[in-house]
């Protein structure tokens, strides 16, 4: 016993002499312990799965999927692989999230600013909008749009017609498809236009800082934006034609063929996600604007800036610093909430991959893991982007 005690004392002595090792050792042990736990659970899962005769592994991703997907941004049919089906689901999730974020931000800014309006009608309207949609569960709102609003659109034969070319019915919204000629020239032209505008603004700023001369930057930029693409269209003969959807009634079944379309499942999900999230963003916007000291506006006015300039040059840049961090959270929420798509048959990653593919292959652990890692990656990407943007607008101390 005294021999053991002696040994331990020597180890202790050694550690006190080497503080670096003493610092690292507990953390290394903790890390090894975590690895052990994860290893144990994976080992346990794999032996039990094997004992029950359940196939495991990721090889199924290369197997033929044998099912079809209602709506896809890339080409897909039943002869393609489960891996491809995953990609289709992922792109559909990203599509509805991006559209949702875009409209949630626009609506959020509009209603956030309106709520601060001195006009009681405008602020009352914004307040009721925010309080109403913020306090109803998102799933219910999705059901509301899908089962109540969109299900009551007319049947195909009696579609609602807008501008003679957009048809809305219970099966979706059908509109003309753009068929371009020489589209590539227009794209190059637009790129050139934006680059020109960018350099013009740099030039105008330099001129202002060096000579104090102020150019009408906005008007000139707008001018470039209109004139350059128009020139390109005429010189290179860029043309566009519309391919209209046509109502075909064959064997008593009516459908619009051709053109482009949006499925009602997408519309319901996008509506619900944008409106629900916009209420939270509106509150962030309101908080951001109210967070700017009144003195800032008064000081700006006292040096002769117009009202619009006060808002654009003084209030908004400072408010953004308050608005962006909580709004990042809302973007993350929206992306994760898009998984509620599975409730209304929108083919997102949960419905296609964690639904159909899981059922057809039985690879529950693998598929759920991939799906979780996918959401994790999406969320982290949004965070990284928003943190970068936040840093860009944050206070630069010189």
């Amino acid at each position: 016993m005294s021999f053991l005690k002696n040994k331990v004392e020597r180890i202790d002595q050694y550690l006190s002499d080497h503080p670096r090792i003493k610092f690292v050792l507990p953390q290394a042990l903790l890390f090894a312990f975590l690895i052990l736990i994860v290893g144990y659970f994976s080992f346990n899962a794999s032996t039990n799965l094997e004992a029950r005769g359940i196939d495991t592994g990721f090889s199924f991703l290369n197997k033929k999927a044998s099912f079809d997907i209602q709506f896809s941004l890339i080409e897909f049919d039943s002869s393609m692989t489960y891996g491809r089906a995953y990609l289709v689901g992922l792109l559909n999730t990203i599509l509805v999230s991006v559209i949702g974020i875009l409209f949630a931000t626009i609506l959020g800014f509009i209603f956030g600013i309106l709520r601060l309006s001195s006009n009681p009608l405008a602020s009352g309207l914004a307040t009721s909008y925010i309080e109403f949609f913020r306090n109803i569960s998102l799933l219910l709102q999705i059901f509301f749009w899908y089962f109540t609003v969109l299900r009551f659109l007319p049947q195909t034969e009696n579609s609602i017609v807008l501008f003679d070319s957009i048809y809305a019915n219970i099966k979706g919204v059908y509109f003309p498809k753009f068929v371009w000629t020489n589209l590539s020239f227009l794209i190059y032209g637009l790129i050139f236009t934006f680059v020109s505008i960018y350099f013009f603004n740099i030039y105008a700023r330099k001129l202002r800082e060096n000579t104090g001369k102020i150019l009408p930057q906005f008007l000139i930029s707008l001018g470039i934006l209109i004139i350059l693409p128009t020139l390109v269209v005429f010189i290179f003969g860029v043309g566009v034609e519309f391919s209209h959807p046509k109502l075909e009634i064959k064997m008593g079944i009516a459908n619009y063929i051709g053109g482009s379309s949006i499925i009602p499942e997408f519309l319901a999900l996008a509506f619900a996600l944008s409106i629900y999230t916009s209420t939270f963003i509106a509150e962030n916007v309101r908080a951001g604007i109210l967070g700017i000291d009144k003195g800032q506006k008064e000081a700006a006015a006292s040096i002769g800036l117009t009202n619009a300039q006060v808002l654009r040059l003084v209030v908004i840049p400072q408010a953004l610093r308050i608005i962006i961090p909580p709004t990042t959270n809302q973007y993350l929420n929206l992306t994760k909430n898009s998984s509620l798509a599975a409730a209304i048959a929108y083919p997102d990653i949960v419905l296609v991959f964690a639904g159909t593919a899981l059922m057809q292959t039985g690879r529950a652990i693998e598929i759920v893991t991939i799906t979780m890692l996918t959401y994790l990656t999406l969320s982290i990407s949004i965070s990284i982007f928003m943190n970068w943007y936040n840093k860009k607008v944050s206070l630069t101390e010189r």
């Binding site: 359940i54 219970i170 292959t361």
Partner: protein, 347 residues
């Protein structure tokens, strides 16, 4: 020093516990579901969330249907009382995981027997209690007469995670028709979507089409097209590797069907005890027959099934014919009467 000793001590205890668990869990488990069922006193049965005629709960929570009768037969055989069943309503997506995880012990939920399911997800199909096939339902107003009349752009409603989803992909591909699948997780949502006009046609097993049409606003407005595009043998499923339990479920189903073949039913089974026919004697569990022992049951197991539930024909009549869901037995008639219902002999 104390801290290090503590850390090392707790780590080694933990490692020991973990290895101990690793040995105990999983592979070496040998208790049969038959024994656990006897000791817990009820059969854990997974059924649908409501398919009239197959498994459907009424307002007071009583389950009926021919899939339900399979579980009741097992309860009668093993526990002596057909009512000792605990039902779990499952969606198509949940069903296999529930069985794998042991949440249920029999899955009797109009499930199609396929190679992929039998071989790769750790489950075993014990037999067929309904021969079905996939069909299409359309509105009568379309005047459609055949599945060959479907044209590009047709919208098709169906259930997520079923063989239906695969069959229709094969079918439309072979016909060269571009279609749009609209898939929902719950059967009720599919029916609702088709009924509202979101889809032009609704596809699933023909029996389910007939059963679900009762839920529509006006069932007479719809018609099932004559063609059958797939084979769908539906039957009960158990976990792989538990042959005792598998045998009990398989032979409960077989005796249920064979009783009809020999004319034994819930009404005449007591008088049938006097029968001189050895096959009938085995079904009614007369003196000297010992087929229950081989299954780990007593010799009255088959008597109780027929006495409490009736034979397959009675179950069919009660659940599918009298309710007007599938009045014609079609392939589900006995082989002696022109159907394909044929089970190995109970002997």
């Amino acid at each position: 020093m104390k801290n290090i000793m503590k850390a090392i001590g707790s780590l080694s205890v933990l490692a020991f516990v973990l290895t101990a668990c690793g040995d105990g869990g999983g592979a070496k488990k040998t208790t049969s579901t038959l024994d656990t069922t006897k000791s817990q006193g009820f059969v854990k049965c997974g059924v649908s969330q409501g398919v009239p005629g197959f498994s459907n709960a009424d307002a007071s929570g009583n389950w009926t249907g021919i899939d339900v009768d399979v579980c009741r037969a097992v309860a009668a055989a093993v526990l002596g009382d057909a009512s000792k069943v605990k039902y779990t309503g499952l969606s198509a997506k949940e069903r296999f995981t529930a069985l794998q995880a042991g949440e249920i012990d029999i899955l009797s939920r109009n499930t199609t027997w396929t190679l992929e399911r039998d071989a790769s997800i750790g489950l075993t199909f014990v037999g067929v209690n309904f021969y079905d096939g996939q069909g299409f339902m359309v509105r009568k107003s379309t005047g459609l007469k055949s599945v060959n009349d479907f044209k590009n752009g047709v919208k098709v409603c169906t259930n997520l995670g079923t063989t239906t989803e695969l069959n229709m992909a094969d079918f439309f591909k072979s016909k060269g028709v571009k279609y749009e699948p609209v898939v929902f997780e719950k059967a009720d949502e599919v029916v609702q979507a088709y009924d509202a006009g979101r889809c032009d046609t609704y596809t699933t097993d023909k029996s389910a089409l007939a059963a679900q049409s009762t839920k529509m606003k006006d069932p007479t407005e719809h018609v099932v097209l004559p063609e059958t595009i797939s084979k769908e043998p539906l039957g009960p499923v158990v976990r792989q590797g538990d042959s005792k339990w598998e045998d009990v479920v398989r032979w409960s189903l077989n005796v249920f069907i064979e009783a009809e073949e020999y004319g034994v039913n819930s009404g005449n089974i007591d008088s049938m005890k006097e029968s001189k026919n050895p096959a009938i004697q085995r079904i009614v569990g007369a003196e000297g027959t010992k087929n229950g022992e081989a299954l780990g049951l007593d010799n009255q197991w088959s008597y109780r099934i027929i006495k409490q539930i009736g034979n397959y024909g009675e179950s069919y009549k009660r659940n599918l014919a009298d309710t007007n869901i599938m009045p014609e037995r079609g392939p589900n008639q006995l082989w002696t009467k022109g159907g394909i219902l044929y089970v190995p002999p109970v002997r």
